[in-house]
Each structure stands twice: as C-alpha cells, then as structure tokens.
Symmetry: C2
Subunit: 192 residues, 2 copies
DNA sequence: GTCGTTCTTTAACGAACGTTCCAAAACCAA
DNA sequence: TTGGTTTTGGAACGTTCGTTAAAGAACGAC
C-alpha cells in the first residue's frame, strides 16, 4: 500500500537533537535542520509538521537518552555519595570538554529559552526534571534505610537540592573552569 | 553645534533590557526593540550600531542594577545565614511571581543562549557572575572571622557553592513551585 | 502489472529579518 | 540668523525566515 519512509525516524531525531542542542531553538533555522538531518524540506515537514513539533519530539528523544544515562549512573556500584559525585562530575566533564562545544544540557537550555512561553515544551522539560529528581529520590531513600544518610534527612529535599546543584553547574559551566566546578561538586556532596 | 539626543540613553537601555529579558536574544527582533524603546529604527542603529552591540550594552546595564541589588542585600543586617536566605528567597520570589513572567535572570539566560558562542557576551556574563561571587566571598570571609561559619570552611568554596545554588534555583524556577524552591533554599543554607 | 497510498523533490510563497540610506529637522555657537 | 553637525523618522535594501503546493517516484496489496 503506502510507500515506506526512506529514513530511520530515530536517526533523524538524533540529528535534530544535535542541531537544536548546538544552536538553541530560535537560532536554528529550517535550513539548519535540513542540513543536519539530510532530509529534504518537504520530507521534514511532512514527517514532523513544524519546527515547533520537531523540537518537542527532539526534546522527548533527548530525555530518552539523557535521563536514562543519569538513572544508570545512579544505579551503579558504590556509596550514595560516590554515585552522586559520579553524576555531578559527569556534568563537570561534559561542561569542560572541548568536544561538547558548550552545548550544555538541552533540557536546561530549553527550560530557560522557552519555559513559560511554550506550554508543551515546558511540560516536557518538567517531565525530564522530575524523572531525574525521582531517580535521585529513590537512591536517597534507599541510602537512608542503609544508614548512609542521617535518618533525620528528608530524601525528597535531598533529591531536589542535588538537582538544583546539577543545574547550577550547568549554568556556571559556561564561564567557570573545571577546578571551580569540581570544588562546587565536593561542597555539594559534603552537604548530603 | 550638534543636535543633542532626544532620548535618555539609560531609559532606552532599560527598555532594551526588558525586551531582551522577556524574549531572549535570538527571538527579539529589531522591530521588537523599536517598539520597546520607542525610538525609530534609524536612531536605534545610529546610537547602538547593531542588535548584538545593543545586547551587550543591555547586559552591562542589567549587571549595574542586578548585581548591585545582591550586594545591597548581602550588606544588610542579620547573620550570614539570614542574609543568604534573603538573597536566595529573593530569587524564589522573583521566579514564582506572576508579574515577572518567567523572565528569570538575564545573565543566566544569556549564559545559556550565547555562552561560548559570542565571546563579548560570555565575558560580560562571567564578569556578572564573578561580581556576585566576590560579594558572597567577602561576606563569608567576614562571617568566618566572626565565628558564624566554621574556621575549617573555605569562604571561596562557599561563595561558589552558593552561586551554583542560586543559578540552580533559576533553572528549576521555570518548572518547580514555590514550596520546592523554598525547600532547596533551606537545604542550601543548612549546608553552610 | 495495476492501483492506491504515501513519501520525496523542487520550487515558490508571503512575511519578517537585520541593516543601510537619505532627506528633513533640530540644536548650538558664532 | 546663519552654518555646521548630529539626530531623526521612514522607506527601502537584499536575504532569510518557516511553511506550503504540486508533481512525480516508490512501495505493498491484489
């Protein structure tokens, strides 16, 4: 019956993620997306309707990979503090790596560029944040039960605090050097 | 001799700050700036050369008002923890106020939108961040001398940590509610 | 092999972009 | 009042914007 798509939707979405990630939403043009994905203009719009819809899909795809990454790191071996350090230092490494060209975190970028402006994007960003927060919450709860964290501490508060520290690193990562970011990481862990 | 300007440059800059603040750099058009400032196209470009230059000037003007505000709050009465709480809660109030329409902090927004892309903007954002960090550093140093803060703590590290918390609140402010942001503030202060 | 459907390609759309130009207006010193 | 200089408002620049239209190509079902 119908003619099948000539491309892998996930691959195209990954290319769109990369393009939006490097330039931001407003500064990315339809031509940038055509160049980035390799699709023709028509195919792109036929498949994704509009730039805004494509961005929403890209954000969903980004969450798939990035939140999963954090969840896996948190589920790894070591004490709670070791695992939190690993997650935060992963941000530090990412922010200071030449290769990642100041892309930062797409969800954080989207939160500041479109948060409160585009409801669909805001909701997706919130979902992304909450997914990471919940992963942290689960680990803090378990750690408290194990006695790694004081019984008087509130796991939900610790998760939100750690999330804020993570995103603080994302902001300062644009201007601060590795040593400063590492110091902040250590001070944060000390506070747990 | 020459004809004097028919406008107050500071007022115009404040209007430009407001416009960029609400929409971001890329999403703000020359027409938006004309509408916002009330100047004609010609006057605007004659006075500020380009959109990019105008943004740089606006960012400088923003720093004048916003960093000064933090410095004044820090120089106010109360213990170090009370004063830090006042600064962080000021961010929380700003982020959750209906009136401020999700503008956030212009320096943080600029850091994420243009950090690493535009060198001039990056340098100005860094200057803004460092000014706040140094204000915090001065207070933490004094507080340690007064015995409010443990002698073993590093005032520089505490300043950077607090700065990161502040900007973490700016990010989460786009999606989280007041109660969560307040909780994060308290956890942060507890860590000092 | 034909049909129905969807995908792809290409060209083009009107609108809006950032910027430039120019002539008229306005100011102050002389 | 005149002359010199700068600012002003507005029109216009060529380019790029996000999006759409139209026609042909490619596939699976029969």
């Amino acid at each position: 019956m119908p003619r099948p798509k000539g491309f892998d939707p996930t691959e195209v979405l990954d290319a769109a993620v990369d393009t939006f990630w490097r330039k931001g939403y407003a500064a990315t043009s339809a031509q940038d997306l055509v160049d980035g994905t390799g699709l023709g203009r028509g195919s792109l719009y036929h498949a994704f309707t509009s730039k805004q819809r494509l961005f929403e899909e890209a954000l969903r795809r980004y969450e798939d990979t990035s939140a999963t990454r954090v969840e896996e790191m948190l589920a790894g071996p070591g004490t709670i503090r070791e695992r939190i350090r690993r997650v935060l230092m992963d941000v530090v490494e990412d922010e200071t790596a030449e290769a990642s060209e100041h892309r930062g975190c797409l969800a954080v970028n989207a939160a500041l560029e479109l948060g409160g402006i585009d409801d669909e994007v805001t909701a997706r960003v919130r979902h992304n944040f909450e997914r990471v927060e919940n992963a942290l919450y689960v680990e803090f709860t378990a750690a408290r039960q194990e006695g790694e964290i004081g019984a008087a501490r509130d796991p939900r508060a610790l998760a939100q605090f750690t999330l804020a520290a993570m995103y603080g690193l994302r902001v300062l990562g644009r201007t601060a050097d590795r040593q400063v970011l590492t110091q902040i990481t250590e001070t944060t862990i000390q506070a747990l």
